[in-house]
Amino acid sequence: MAFDTTDVLLSILKIAIVLGLWLNVTPIMVWIERRGSALIQDRPGPNRVGPLGLLQSFADALKFIMKEDIIPAQAHKWLYTLAPTFGLFPALTTIAVVPWGRAFMIPEMHIAGRTLFEGGRWFNPIVADVSAGILVIFALASLGVYGITIAGWSSANKYSMFGAIRASAQMISYELSLTLAAVSVLLVAGSLRLTDVVAQQTNYYYVLFDVVKIPAWNVLSPAMWISFIVFVVSAFAETNRLPFDFAEAEAELVAGYHTEYSSMKFALFFMAEYMAMATMAAVVTTLYLGGWDVPYYNEPATFLGFLVSFLAFLTKVGLLMFVFVWVRWTIPRLKYDILMRIGWKFFLPLAILNIVIVAAFIAAGWI
């Protein structure tokens, strides 16, 4: 396959869109987190900086930049400095294999005497449509633990160390349930490619003697309910969010793995956390909530169709991220041994059971 300049420019455009979105997730989510927690706890929350406190995130960012950057004397200097980037790298790259809209045909254009997009050109709104898509997500997500582990170890602080050890044990345990839960979805789609997973979900199921038709979103299929619950709960554990944020655990470990971090290094951990959250929300949307699909609406392969599907994708991801915030301020932190026990003795067997259920559904021809 030969690449020409247009292809390269389109790829750069896609990367710019995704990167721009993902970099803006953190300030927006910080605002939603602070105002949302205030809403849930029945207090006003930050409302002084800008209308509704909307500029609070900028004030926070400014404060991060102005703070002194401290490296503890006992710390391993190299790894201490590199650790935040280890955390950020998987959070930023994972989204590359997730489709975020309907592919559409760019028509031939004549601007200022030059012909652009000769003969029309397909615009596939995904940065890298690789055949092993979902595996790439799990591969990169599994690297996210290194940021936390290395930060905790290199800080030369007992509390950081505890956070790091907890994080590595927790993530190893929950990755298994996460992957096995996703296997159910892949069985139905028959492909590891995420565009295929979404394409399968744009179909419809006919229920009640083939009278009513419902969208073939995986979350609406009874065979997937266990897998959906296991996946979402494991996603909370994988992104280190409450009720599973044992790597941080303010009440027990000061601030866990980033106790010693200050200034922009701390801000990078913050960004990595919210980006990982956004990525997980995008993956849940793609695997279970139909990706960019709008139910009962056949998106045309034009720019309009793309725009509608893109907005649908963003809406679903946004709603899921609000659920992340909602859960954080509603459910208290679990005990660590309970977390480990749930993971190994409850979720792992459930995820395997769901694979059997889905296989039976497929064998019976119900899906």
Binding site: L135, V136, F138, A139, V145, W153, S168, T179
Partner: protein
């Protein structure tokens, strides 16, 4: 041409980090360098048009096994102990024999493998092809490996766990 550049770049990264694993004194740095080396290897699989194998390489080795290694290293909390050089004759013999072995290995690889054989076209390495081979042609070795792993798990439990009665007593104390 770009494949050529990418290959040698990542080959260099893989080899350099593999050497850091052996030569660096800090075990945590060693473990992380091994992760970097594995990652560079995964790039090689992508160059061979086997993204499935590349993803598995990262998931299994970088994502799971090395995290466990790091976990164990951090739990043991190894300290730097400057060891005085002991047994100089044995050390000398060890280094020279290793050097000869290394030279011989490189010589034979260069002579018989590199630059002489061409791969017979793109090989099948997607999920479907690997699955079919694993469960048809290689189902017996596959099952043998799983039994071996099971035996290893049981053995580890037997070696690390105490007598059953004792453990039940601990369980009562903790209140489970």
């Amino acid at each position: 041409m770009s494949e050529f550049v990418i290959f040698f770049l990542f080959a260099a990264i893989a080899v350099i980090f593999a050497m850091v694993v052996v030569l660096h004194r800090n075990p945590v740095v060693g473990a992380l360098s091994l992760v970097a080396s594995f990652f560079a290897l995964a790039v090689m699989y992508v160059l061979l048009e086997a993204p499935f194998v590349a993803a598995l390489q990262v998931i299994v080795y970088a994502g799971a096994i090395m995290v466990l290694f790091l976990f164990v290293i951090m739990l043991l909390n190894l300290q730097h102990v400057a060891e005085p050089p002991t047994r100089p004759i044995q050390q000398f013999l060890g280094y020279t024999s290793c050097a000869f072995f290394g030279i011989g290995l490189v010589y034979y690889i260069v002579k018989y493998a590199v630059f002489t054989t061409q791969p017979a076209g793109p090989f099948q390495a997607d999920a479907r092809a690997i699955g079919i081979r694993m469960f048809e042609a290689y189902v017996f070795p596959f099952e043998m490996v799983s039994i071996l792993l099971l035996a290893a798990i049981v053995g580890a439990l037997l070696l690390s766990g105490r007598a059953v009665g004792h453990r039940a007593k601990i369980g009562q104390e903790v209140g489970r």
